[in-house]
Amino acid sequence: MPLLEVDSLTVEYWTRRGIIRAVDNVSFALDKGEMLGLVGESGSGKSTLGHSLVRLLPTQGSIVGGRIRIGGKDVVGYSEEEMRSIRGEKIAFVFQDPMTSLNPVKKIGEHLVELIQTHKPNVSREEALRFAEAALDDVGISTERINDYPHQFSGGMRQRIMIALAIALNPDIVIADEPTTALDVIVQAKVMDLLKDLCGAHGMALILITHDISVVLERCKKVIVMYAGNFVECADSVSLHNDPKHPYTQGLLRTVPNIELADQRLESITGSPPDLLDLPSGCRFWPRCPQAMKVCHMKGPSMVELENGCCVRCFLYGGLEQ
């Protein structure tokens, strides 16, 4: 049984201009130890999806359909109490900005101890401290610094502290929302190495949410490409890289500079992502698609499963019969 199963999930936001469907009917599964990369531009809904998995949507957002099964149990209907008990223990979230996500007046040891004691009230302070030290050790921060404050750490180390907070209780699933965007390239590599090691050592499954396709292709086994609230392609990274199916994926791969290639020709995708309040009819990508057909203007394609286990949402690969 997969660790995480998302089934037809739909998330909407209420705004003054209307209701935005940020995530539209998405489904996927995650197994133990898997590293999944969720790739998309700003506004594609990937961050919303990540937040909805831990039910940390802002007040204007709500899950309006679908199921999220963690360890077989559907958490969409869970109360805040029930969610609190599984956050951290079953599923954890690493926030995007390490600069502002830590409490500046609390020592980092306190951050960890408070987390641990909230979930395991019977644990004594000494034991909680030992847990905290183990977590810091896991992320490569010297345990001597357990009494330091966040501002005494660099950006890269703060991100590691965030990861320590996420893994302290040994969750099965960790969701990392743009964990390396604010970091320099060497630190970024170290943080990604760390995440990979933790997946291996603890058997954790990781969902990496980012707009940086290079990082995803380099590190993740499975990739899901998201566009305007829909999943447009799911594949293992090798297949996605060697033979991208969806025109959007193909376009994306052409925009990314590869430092190991000489004389690369890069191309951009014409146009820009649609306004979610004013979506094009039919396939959401057709206005920008070099291979758009007549049917694309009229109907929205559904996910088609291909022989090698990959899925793609495009009439070029089927779905016309319906």
Binding site: S214, E218, C220, V238, S272
Partner: protein, 337 residues
Amino acid sequence: MLSLWGFGAVSVIVDVEHLKKYFPVQKSFFEKLFTRTSSYVKAVDDVSFSINEGEVFTLAGESGCGKTTTGMILAMLMNPSGGKILFDGTEIAGLKSEELRLLRRRIQIVFQDPYASLNPRMRIGEAVGHPLEIHGLATGVDKRNRVLEILEKVGLTPPERFIDLYPHELSGGQRQRVAIARSIILRPEFIVADEPVSMLDVSIRTVLIDLMMELRKEFGLTYLFITHDLAVAKYISDRIAIMYLGKIVETGDKEEVFSNPLHPYTKALLSAVPVPDPERKRETVELKGEVPSAIQVPPGCRFHPRCPYAFAKCSEVEPQLIEIEENHCAACHLVKG
């Protein structure tokens, strides 16, 4: 327009010699009373390089290396603590305000943050046209026409639609185009581009960079391109300098530096860049520790505490930037000789 690199004499448009920028560290009241010495953040510490007319010269490095400070000084937004900067033969540090204003028509800057570099209360047309107003180059209908023309050039079409919008009505990529428009409306010769695409989605970076390269061809521009993204640097540079903790550790033609990095830091940096290929085997150069503070700079070679190849001399003597191969310099004891 002359064809420039490799074909006969190239003219140097910017010449930086021994540039220094030290920021004094704020002392508390008691520290002021009881200590004599001040400590400084040596953001830029004796940096020299030159930029040829028409080329894209990249200054690359991680945060805190001094590249942005260097850019700000070259764009005349900060005064250096020492050293000389020559633009087309004229010394630009310490100019009087009138001369400075004239020079601003020739040197411009594009900032990193598309959300912060535009005045939220100024319409796009006003913001882009403001340089023309300031320098008394155009008013009224003439100004409006020039603004429309420039907006078209940067890809904001139809320009009539954009001219009256406010920044918050545009996307990040569009705002950055506006920033570029504002910087070229005076037809400058030299533009400092400080991480112009770092805050944009990876998929739209290419568009903006291609735009900047188009404009270079059309307007005969020279760029100082500042970035921490070496993949982008490889795509657009002609020559590149790698900075670490206020110093240049390696510089040279792009091809040379990327295919044959000499300095251990450059090697580490290049190996850490994510490569969009799942089947590539990664050979990383592991660096110990973190970038030290620019207040307490390590003795000798600044990089030695983290360098996997450091030996005795590295902690004693600071290596100079010397030419190792043609057009390829490095500052490292290991490489020299």
